[in-house]
């Protein structure tokens, strides 16, 4: 009985999570010329438009690249920091956590402005992707950190000891023992990082290098002028794309480990 109540409760939450997205998906199949819901007739025409829009395709490529690079960087740095936080920080714990969360506590605009001034001051400017990637890493780092440190809290140090007793050095221990056992946290954190980076707007807008644009920038600009279902089609495609990534990740890497 209570099991049923519980399941129903969860289903309602899933419905809540999906509701606005279903609206967007529905709108993307709109046969009409602009975003309305319920759609006026069904068609794939806006997907066709999208696939012929070279600007969007290029922006998606740029976004994927930036997201991949920042995910790798913040994945590595954030995981290391999380290990320090959980296993070694001791009394510094609160301080480390706040420092790691700082990029999220500070408004993105201000960070963008501060970084913009900084990169010009050190002579790098926005000629390259450097500034934008730094910005993305700053924003995505806390997500990796938080997720990995959560997983680490339930990591039994005895496993590391056992590995040491078998002669495994620090890096091997990490790669062979710790990483697989905190996998859900690392993958979760990196998924967040990737998705967030894919969605970052303000920092990208301010810090992007001359002549490039990420998908959110394109969408934003696009929506200013053309509020057609093409935007919904783009979103739907990115939902599908990311869903595929998630399901494949879960299938092959597994977001769960069977410890018990």
């Amino acid at each position: 009985m209570s099991r049923i109540v519980f399941t129903v409760y969860c289903l309602i939450i899933y419905a809540f999570l999906l509701a606005p997205i279903l609206v967007v998906v529905g709108a993307s199949f709109n046969a009409g010329a602009f975003l309305t819901f319920p759609p006026q007739g069904l068609s794939f025409r806006w997907y066709g438009v999208f696939f012929n829009n070279e600007v969007f395709l290029r922006a998606i490529k740029t976004s994927l690249w930036v997201a991949a690079v920042s995910t790798v960087i913040s994945g590595i740095i954030g995981t290391m920091a999380a290990i320090y936080f959980v296993q070694f920080a001791g009394r510094l714990k609160d301080g480390v956590r706040i420092a790691m969360m700082a990029p999220l506590l500070l408004p993105e605009v201000l960070t963008a402005i501060a970084l913009l001034f900084f990169v010009y001051a050190i002579g790098i400017g926005t000629q390259t992707m450097f500034a934008m990637i730094v910005g993305h890493v700053l924003i995505t780092l806390p997500f990796v950190f938080i997720n990995v440190s959560t997983s680490l809290e339930s990591y039994d140090p005895a496993w590391s000891m056992a590995a040491r007793s078998l002669g495994a050095g620090a890096f091997t221990r990490f790669r062979r023992i710790m990483l697989p056992l905190i996998k859900p946290g690392v993958i979760g954190g990196c998924l967040f990082a990737f998705i967030i980076s894919f969605d970052i707007f303000t920092i990208s807008f301010m810090l992007k290098s001359v002549g490039t644009a990420t998908l959110p920038i394109q969408l934003y600009d696009y929506l200013r002028t053309n509020f057609t279902p093409e935007a919904a089609a783009v979103s739907t495609l990115s939902v599908v794309l990311t869903l595929v990534v998630v399901v494949v990740t879960e299938k092959f890497l597994g977001l769960r480990i069977h410890r018990f």
């Binding site: 999220l104 408004p107 501060a114 979760g188 998908l215």
Partner: protein, 286 residues
Amino acid sequence: MTTGSSHRHAPLLLIAPAAILLFVFLVLPYLSIVVMSFRTPGQGSPYGEGYTLANYARFFGDSFYLGQIANTLMIGFICTLACLLLGFPVAWQLARGTSRLRGLAYGVVLSPLLVGIVIRSYGWTILLGNNGVINRSLMGLGLIDRPLGLMYNTLGIVIALTHVFLPFMILPIMSAIQGIDPSLESAARSLGASRATIIRRIILPLSMPGIQAGCILTFVLSLSAYVTPSLIGGSKVKTMAVSVVDALVDTFQWPFGSALALGLAVTGGVIVVLFSRFTRMTWKAN
């Protein structure tokens, strides 16, 4: 887990990259912002001559901004609480469930993040707007005769923020619950604990690191959320982040905007620290 004195400093290497990154690309750039927040407002330049406390005075002296801080914090608290209440059961189900549809369920959980923020807000407008699906159906059914105010107010912002921050609550809690040995649940049952008691006395405390992480993330994010409040709030509900953007970008008051932003960040930081302390006191999980 320490190895010996020659290796005692090795752990610092773990935090070094993060520390350097944050120092060089956050602390250093923000030095000028901190200075900026003490500058006088400028005419025809980002800031004027000399230094002043006036920006902070304006911020703390005006009930308008204090009210905004209160409003922002309230939105933060409510979103965090809502995410926790909605997210925990789902996290539990994902962590312990054995359904084949789990991969899909992860996808659904992450889905709010996959739709760009503008489009997502559009989705909400369609659902919650005065002329939206919900209001129209309710009016169509004759249950109400004037649209319910679901949007352009705090309620709308809370709904939209809760929606998009749920994944940040669910994933950390899920991985925390996965780390709890199910035999502890068996042990509790053998001692006569009901399902609800087990959740309250065993699962909740032991998943505390996850709950902490989720709450901090949600809270911090809802404090600095900008686009959702401005789109869903229809510029009517002012949150601090919206004011910060207004001041910094739209009306070009960098000194004041910086003061607002730093005030907001410090307030958020203090609350996060207090929260960590408090939760650690309540549940000595580790």
